[in-house]
């Protein structure tokens, strides 16, 4: 008890210095937590993926489509329960910076495979009935203030012309991981329109979404589907929805890795600051430590006092930083909701933050503690006037 009080009191002897160090720690722990969360946010799509869905795409790359009749062949593959189609529309709402995803899907087969999108029954029926209707997610409707009945004008870089869709349904997320920042509309509308202008580009599927009953059999089913179209004009590549989503993250992995790396640099910076604080503190108090030793305290105790003080400093800063992380992440997410659909705060992030704070404390206290333990009583006391 004496020991803790001693360390605690010492922390607040140089008030300004301790306050500044703690402030620095809070900023560092916060920045670290935020960056880790941003890294996690890239993987939000993979978190939302279902084990019971496969994605089939053209093996050359996503920019190539597949003929629509593949669908019937895929349905015949054992283990496949449903096949739907989804085309990336690439529409721009007013300005390129207003980015959100739009997909042309075969709604009657698509949505039964996505139970995580929760519709109001009457809205869903209205959406099915309106060929130019659109179903949008709650996040998207909040982002741009879209309401049921609104008309969304889009320009597409892929499908020429101006397009208009009427919001007929707004779906909600079933749970935390579900992303509701995208828009769906009817594949038939897209296809019929394209048929008039570019007949060659009609009846094409961007990707097929394949429902399977048994997630364990995914690898085999994927292989069977791809075997079906081997040596055809459009060979396919089938993978689980999770693998498909992760392939997008892999494309920008360099950036994700860089953010991850940089998040540790801020910890290094604060380590240098805290180590400096402790070094200065210990240097100023060398006579005290000599006195303690002269009174009979062992070198280990003196070292522990300094270490305790460093850890205490790190703990205070770390705790404040941890406490501030959730609100700061929330504010940050509100500002970047156009970029990141989800910004999940996971316990892992808090553990890492706590570990980093502890590491800062240990590193900061180490050198001064060793030095104080080694100081010779005579040398230390000589400084006492």
């Amino acid at each position: 008890m004496f020991f803790l009080r001693f360390a605690f009191r010492n922390v607040f002897r140089a008030k300004l210095r301790s306050a500044l160090t703690i402030l620095g720690l809070v900023i560092a722990i916060l920045a670290f937590g935020l960056l880790q969360t941003v890294v996690r946010a890239w993987y939000a799509g993979a978190d939302a993926a279902s084990a019971n869905r496969l994605i089939t795409r053209n093996a050359i790359s996503l920019t190539f489509s597949m003929p629509m009749y593949y669908r019937d062949k895929m349905r015949a593959v054992p283990g496949v329960t449903a096949v739907s189609v989804s085309n990336w529309f690439g529409g721009i709402y007013k300005e390129p910076k207003n980015f959100f995803a739009q997909f042309a899907v075969d709604a009657p087969t698509f949505f039964p495979m996505y139970p995580e999108f929760v519709f109001k029954a009457d809205e869903y029926q209205a959406f099915l009935r309106d060929q130019r209707g659109a179903a949008i997610g709650r996040q998207l409707s909040d982002l741009y203030g879209f309401k049921v009945g609104d008309v969304i004008p889009l320009k597409s870089a892929i499908y020429p012309g101006n397009w208009e869709f009427t919001v007929r349904a707004i779906y909600d997320a079933k749970d935390e991981t579900t992303i509701t920042r995208q828009m769906y509309f009817h594949y038939d509308y897209l296809n019929e329109s394209i048929k008039k202008v570019f007949p060659r580009r009609a009846d094409q599927a961007g990707v097929f979404v394949v429902g399977i009953a048994d997630g364990q059999a995914a690898a085999n089913i994927a292989r069977d589907i791809d075997a079906e179209f081997k040596n055809s004009l459009a060979e396919t590549l089938t993978e689980t929805e999770k693998a498909f989503t992760l392939s997008f993250v892999a494309m920008v992995e360099t950036i994700v890795v860089a953010i991850q790396g940089v998040s540790y640099i801020v910890i290094l910076i604060i380590m240098a600051v805290a180590a400096n604080t402790m070094a200065m503190t210990a240097r100023e108090r060398l006579p005290e430590y000599a006195t303690l030793k002269a009174l009979g305290f062992r070198p280990g105790t003196v070292a522990a006092l300094i270490m305790g003080e460093a850890l205490m400093l790190a703990m205070i800063g770390g705790l404040i930083g941890l406490a501030l992380t959730p609100p700061v992440v929330r504010i940050f997410h509100q500002a970047t909701v156009g970029v990141f659909a989800k910004m999940p705060l996971v316990p892992h992030t808090f553990y890492l933050q706590a570990a980093c704070a502890a590491a800062v404390g240990v590193v900061a206290g180490l050198a001064p503690a060793v030095r104080a333990a080694r100081v010779r009583i005579v040398d230390g006391l000589r400084h006492v006037a």
Binding site: I27, A28, A31, G90, P160, A250, I270, A279
Partner: protein
């Protein structure tokens, strides 16, 4: 009367550990700051040098990228016959009609990870319009054959593209017969083959883009007007370097914004470090300050002395951070440019402007960190200060 500079410098030397730690923190911040600017500079250099000022790119109206674009043969012919287009010695129009597709290839270090690579089909004129491209290994593809040549970055990053190997796509086997170097431009991240062969294989009836060389670089506006007014041509025309620069704006903005936000947050930590150090320096040297004042140094001189001490630490840190960052120039970054949805390689590039910006950033940190402590030092009363020891 000014406090001598050597006095300032020696004070730092006396407290080596503290100086080192403070400068070290700043060095890390400057490292991050410089690295971000270098990355952005590298991206710009790659894309700007990809385009030539007297070349123009024509793509379908509103399509933004070559991959999404489609230009019909008759449209391409109209562009080819425009009077603004340059002609070669043999009277042939300097126009390259190309087809561009994306092919997802496995990465060399992790074959399960695939990324999109630009595959460009082009006529022989295409290589004439890009003089920066030359073969470093093997030879150029033969027109009319299923041969391909790969860019230097593709050869480094992707599996299965070594000389003599075959890539299977669009129902054919394409043999790699050469590796080309495009002088660190975006073409280094591409695979090239014969345009007619590619169109057949990919069942394309139209081109993706038309590249034309202008006879007179100043005639761009005239050509643009002619094309805009022609109802048969629903196309967008851009100068080549503008086209490539536009392709990178999102990635560039992302890097810059993220990097600057990080630098600002990190610099708070470093400035706090400097403030702590300088407050401690002032506190331990109270007697010294009193002596200096008693010797006749003015308050202003004391302020300047402490401020320059802080600036000097910052400069040391800034220089160390810059030196560390300069080693990054050996690294090539390869990532997907989301606007073109394809892989793009670029290097960290150090420019004089970045050196200047980084050092300025370091000095600003030193100034902010040292300001309050320096004020405190200069405000001390001689008597109190001398009594302190």
């Amino acid at each position: 009367m000014r406090v001598p500079f050597s006095y300032v410098a020696r004070n730092l030397w006396v407290r080596k550990l503290t100086t080192g730690l403070t400068a070290g923190g700043m060095a890390l911040v400057v490292f991050v700051f410089a690295a971000v600017l270098m990355l952005d500079a590298g991206l710009h250099q790659t894309l700007v040098s990809t385009g030539s000022a007297d070349n123009v790119v024509v793509i379908r109206q509103g399509s933004q990228t070559e991959v999404q674009s489609g230009v019909f043969r008759d449209q391409a012919a109209l562009i080819e016959t425009s009077p603004e287009v340059a002609h070669g010695a043999d009277g042939e129009a300097l126009v390259s009609k190309e087809v561009v597709v994306l092919n997802s290839l496995p990465k060399i270090d992790e074959p399960s990870k695939r990324s999109n690579v630009v595959v460009r089909g082009l006529p022989q004129m295409g290589t004439v319009l890009r003089p920066q491209v030359h073969i470093v290994e093997g030879r150029m593809f033969r027109p009319g054959s299923s041969e391909i040549v790969v860019g230097a970055s593709v050869a480094r990053q992707f599996a299965g593209v070594e000389l003599g190997q075959q890539l299977n796509f669009a129902g054919r086997a394409w043999t790699v017969v050469g590796i080309f170097d495009a002088g660190r431009t975006a073409f280094d991240s591409e695979i090239w083959g014969d345009v007619e062969q590619m169109m057949q294989a990919f069942r394309r009836i139209g081109y993706s883009s038309v590249i034309a060389k202008l006879a007179d670089p100043g005639s761009f506006d005239a050509l643009k007007r002619r094309i805009d007014e022609d109802p048969r041509l629903k196309v967008d025309i851009k100068r080549e370097h503008q086209f490539y620069e536009d392709q990178s704006s999102t990635l560039s903005n992302f890097i810059t914004l993220l990097g600057l936000a990080l630098s600002v947050i990190f610099s708070l930590g470093a400035m706090i470090g400097a403030t702590i150090t300088m407050y401690a320096a002032v506190a331990t040297r109270t007697g010294e300050i009193g002596t200096l004042r008693a010797l006749g140094f003015q308050r202003g001189s004391i302020l300047v002395a402490f401020l320059s001490e802080s600036l000097l630490v910052a400069l040391l840190g800034g220089a160390a951070g810059l030196i560390a960052a300069s080693f990054l120039t050996a690294i090539t970054v390869s990532t997907t440019n989301f606007q073109s949805f394809s892989e793009l390689a670029f290097s960290f590039t150090l420019t004089p402007a970045i050196v200047l910006q980084s050092l300025t950033f370091a000095l600003v940190m030193g100034f902010v960190g040292g300001f309050l402590p320096a004020i405190r030092a200069s405000r001390m009363k001689i008597v109190d200060a001398l009594r302190a020891d």
